[in-house]
Symmetry: C2
Subunit: 223 residues, 2 copies
């Protein structure tokens, strides 16, 4: 392995170029960069791939070509809003899987007409009879469950990690498959501790930051 791979040298030079150009400036075609840099197009593409993953470049289909990504407008999305299902949604879909006693509610989170995340909640169908018919898809889910089924929710302990976009999620979020995403999941229990919901959210890290405003810190341990 070379000490510094050529694709990484290319990436560094291309990054300098990106930093000099204004937003949305068309970027040189891959074949031209390949020629100018004296590297194969494959090597140039590997460098460009990482810059795209980092959100510095945007690639369009056909004659559109590559362009300098506009300074990313990062939307701050609160963990509270995710759990309470208060974020702006689109394409809310309710699916039922009778054999497995599972109801799935899926929605696309939207900010400024851009898809930034996917929210998916699973419920036990036997606990929520008639859910698919009664749920209108606009009320925040927890509020609906409270109102229609008298559920009282207890604390949640969400956990957070990274995930790669499946082809399906990639289509919903307008990214390429295998794009890294931020994943947040939690189990919702009622006040007696019985599980009620299992939820999962993925967010585009380049479009949204997850904020945690309600964090209670423990007092520092003292001897």
């Amino acid at each position: 392995m070379p000490a510094i791979p050529r694709y990484y040298q290319a990436k560094t030079r291309l990054l300098d170029l990106v930093n000099e150009l204004p937003d949305n400036t068309p970027f040189p075609p891959e074949r031209e960069l390949s020629d100018v840099f004296g590297m194969s197009r494959t090597t140039i593409r590997k460098a460009l791939d990482e810059l795209v993953l980092e959100g510095r470049l945007i690639r369009g289909a056909g004659r559109q070509g590559t362009a300098v990504a506009p300074r990313k407008q990062v939307h701050r999305i609160g963990l509270d809003a995710l759990v309470q299902d208060l974020a702006a949604r689109e394409q809310v879909v309710v699916r039922t899987s009778g054999a497995q006693d599972v109801i799935n509610v899926e929605s696309v989170l939207v900010r400024r007409d851009e898809p930034v995340g996917v929210r998916s909640t699973c419920l036990r169908a036997s606990r929520f009879p008639g859910f698919a018919e009664r749920y209108d898809g606009t009320t925040p889910l927890r509020q609906f469950l409270s109102d229609a089924y008298e559920i009282r929710f207890g604390d949640v302990h969400p956990w957070c990690t990274t995930a790669l976009a499946t082809p399906r999620v990639a289509r919903l979020l307008d990214v390429r498959p295998a794009t890294p995403l931020l994943s947040v999941a939690w189990l919702g229990h009622d006040l007696r501790g019985a599980p009620v919901e299992r939820s999962w959210v993925v967010l585009r890290g380049d479009r949204a930051h997850l904020t945690m405003q309600g964090l209670r810190l423990s007092a520092p341990a003292r001897p």
Copy 2:
């Protein structure tokens, strides 16, 4: 673009193979897969790359080859422990940049002898005179600042997103550059609201989940 790229067909078939094999089973060499699947090694590698990113395969140098990744031992790391600097650390380094009045404290988070994250905190040098000489590197940072400089911390509002491993971080975490990571950042203020610390943690998503136990949920909005 083909409806289904060949590399994705390969990935699907390879994933089936991974699921059938026990942990740590040596995987067929790329050239053999290329031959058996009737695809070029480049295409096979693109499929393998994604399986490696997803933590299903592990690639070793030289004659080691590729192997089925052991079922991932995911360590649950609390947000509280990150902020309070209570997680197990190694290689604690204090750097000072006199010209910019900045002290940087960097440490590698460790679980079961595996690096799972990097923690980095910046402090104003002028506010903490003699820090580099006084800090022993073992006391949790917030506790030390409390004890040695009488700092009393207020609430924090951390935010969370994804990031790509820089070559430097990649070396610390034993991953390849551009591996997607989970990023957590926060600003620490004292009780008067003055900023005290700026901290940043990156975690290997395949090794660690960030848990948020202290989440206070707002009451659902009611009309």
